[in-house]
């Protein structure tokens, strides 16, 4: 009985001490937490040579490219609706052309804006 009262008192005291702590939550969207450098967010592409490695390592089939008559990549697209942000494409890109930015707010009214279309490839 005494043990029970003692443990209840100890438990309540531990909980009570937390009353005076600072709040840890942020009031999103007014205040936002800055993601880390390594954060895997929205993709950007710059300097693609059209080798097609990204398509071969992508688990969700989010990457498509179109070839011309000579078999060279002329345009490519990243579908963020399918993307699972695993970072495989950025990691295995031999030119470091694919970068993952800190942008995580992808909500949009236009579904097509989530499909990133790029021209070029073979000439870059």
């Amino acid at each position: 009985m005494i043990n029970a009262i003692k443990s209840l008192w100890e438990g309540h005291w531990t909980v009570f001490k937390h009353l005076f702590r600072k709040a840890v939550t942020l009031e999103y969207p007014e205040k936002k937490r800055e993601p880390n450098e390594a954060f895997r967010g929205k993709l950007t592409v710059n300097g693609c040579i059209g080798c097609g490695v990204c398509k071969r390592v992508c688990p969700s089939g989010a990457i498509e490219y179109q070839k011309d008559d000579e078999g060279k990549v002329r345009s490519y697209s990243f579908d963020l609706k399918k993307c699972i942000f695993c970072g495989n494409c950025a990691y295995y890109c031999p030119k470091g052309a694919i970068k993952m930015t800190k942008n995580y707010e992808l909500a949009t009214e236009d579904k097509n804006s989530l499909c990133l279309n790029y021209k070029g490839g073979a000439d870059d």
Binding site: E10, N36, V53, R56, C86, G87
Partner: protein, 363 residues
């Protein structure tokens, strides 16, 4: 007097079923006569999917088998490929993998502690355990880029060298004190004791017959920890937690003690990593990765019991067949036995104490 039986459908949307578990209970008053778990609501075809993807494409998806302890499943897939191609891991890679696995195990146990107490009606510990879990997740985010789907282990090593070791040091400095705090609130609390002591008794024979592994088995007095023979953990000194009480309380206590032991392992890994040279690893080229024809399997001690993976390869770049064995599946099956004869209000408490997670059950 005639006994009228009531069939009660618990779940699949009940907040305390840890996902989407449906239990069909047959009741006499408040007493449970039989229990039939109905699983499959979260089935994503993880095994069939593997047959259509190359190994490197499949690797990021395996974190999702158990989203609370994703590292363990990446490690399993990497391990199979490494063993099949006879790749030896450098000591530093081993130490980093052990450290991350144990951090992941602590994060998983912390979440369990909070949600188990929530099942019993205590809300405060939930916030405290999440606070400490947040520290671990923040570290993972800094290192790997995401909080739950790490995709950090690759075939033959790691994506990049370890960093931010001071964060890990801070975590293992703070955590034991916080675990003391949880114990002050929970362990001897008379209400908690009444809800857990002597409830859901799992004896040795039943546990072994139902293929229970992990903490649930060790809380029933069986000394079986797959970390003991694991090549990753070679050179690490740790204790296997075995308790004889066999009830829900023992399963709680065993997890708390295991968290402390994990802190100990992380401490050893950290001491090594502080003086270790820069990472030199020989990664396997994933683009032309083909496993030689044959059967391969690997196993590891995950937070929810033994996790193992089996791959049959026909020499191609995709597995011919892949099979996962997860601890939770067997824990859910155990409910058929464990809930019979108990009262309805203890059902959730007992189910919660087994620590199963539904994505791992349904795969």
């Amino acid at each position: 007097m005639t006994i009228t039986k009531l069939k009660l459908n618990l779940g699949p949307q009940h907040p305390s079923t840890h996902g989407v578990l449906r239990l069909i209970l047959e009741l006499d008053g408040e007493k449970i006569l039989s229990c039939e778990p109905d699983v499959g609501y979260l089935h994503r075809g993880m095994e069939k999917m593997a047959e259509q993807m190359s190994y490197i494409q499949y690797l990021p998806t395996v974190d999702r088998i158990d989203y609370l302890a994703g590292c363990f499943y990446s490690e399993l897939l990497c391990r199979i490929v490494e063993q099949a191609l006879n790749v030896e891991l450098p000591d530093k890679v081993r130490a980093i993998r052990v450290m991350l696995l144990e951090l992941n195990r602590i994060a998983s146990h912390l979440l369990w502690t909070g949600s188990f107490l929530m099942d019993l009606g205590a809300t405060s510990p939930f916030f405290y355990t999440f606070r400490e879990r947040e520290m671990i997740l923040k570290y993972f985010e800094k290192l790997t880029g995401q909080r739950m789907m790490y995709n950090y282990f690759v075939f033959g090593g790691l994506r990049k060298d370890i960093d931010y070791l001071e964060d890990v040091q801070e975590i293992i400095n703070i955590l034991p004190k916080k675990i003391d705090d949880y114990e002050k609130i929970i362990t001897d609390n008379p209400i908690f004791l009444k809800r857990t002591e002597g409830k859901g008794i799992l004896d040795k024979e039943t546990a072994l017959n139902y293929a229970i592994t992990g903490v649930n088995l060790r809380a029933s007095g069986v000394d079986l920890d797959f970390r003991n023979g694991d090549y990753l953990y070679k050179g690490f000194d740790f204790r296997t937690i075995v308790l004889e009480e066999k009830d829900s309380w023992a399963r709680y206590k065993a997890r708390i003690m295991e968290m402390r032991e994990s802190c100990n392992i992380i401490h050893q890994a950290l001491e090594y990593l502080k003086t270790a040279p820069t990472l030199e690893q020989r990664l396997i080229n994933p683009l032309n990765l083909k496993l030689p024809e044959g059967d391969y399997s690997a196993q590891i001690e995950a937070p929810r019991g033994l996790a193992s993976c089996f791959i049959r390869s026909d020499g191609g770049d995709k597995p011919y067949r892949l099979k996962w064995r997860t601890g939770s599946y067997y824990s859910v099956n155990l409910l058929r036995k464990l809930l019979v004869g108990e009262y309805l209000n203890d059902a959730i408490a007992i189910a919660g104490s087994l620590d199963f997670i539904l994505p791992e059950v349904d795969k």
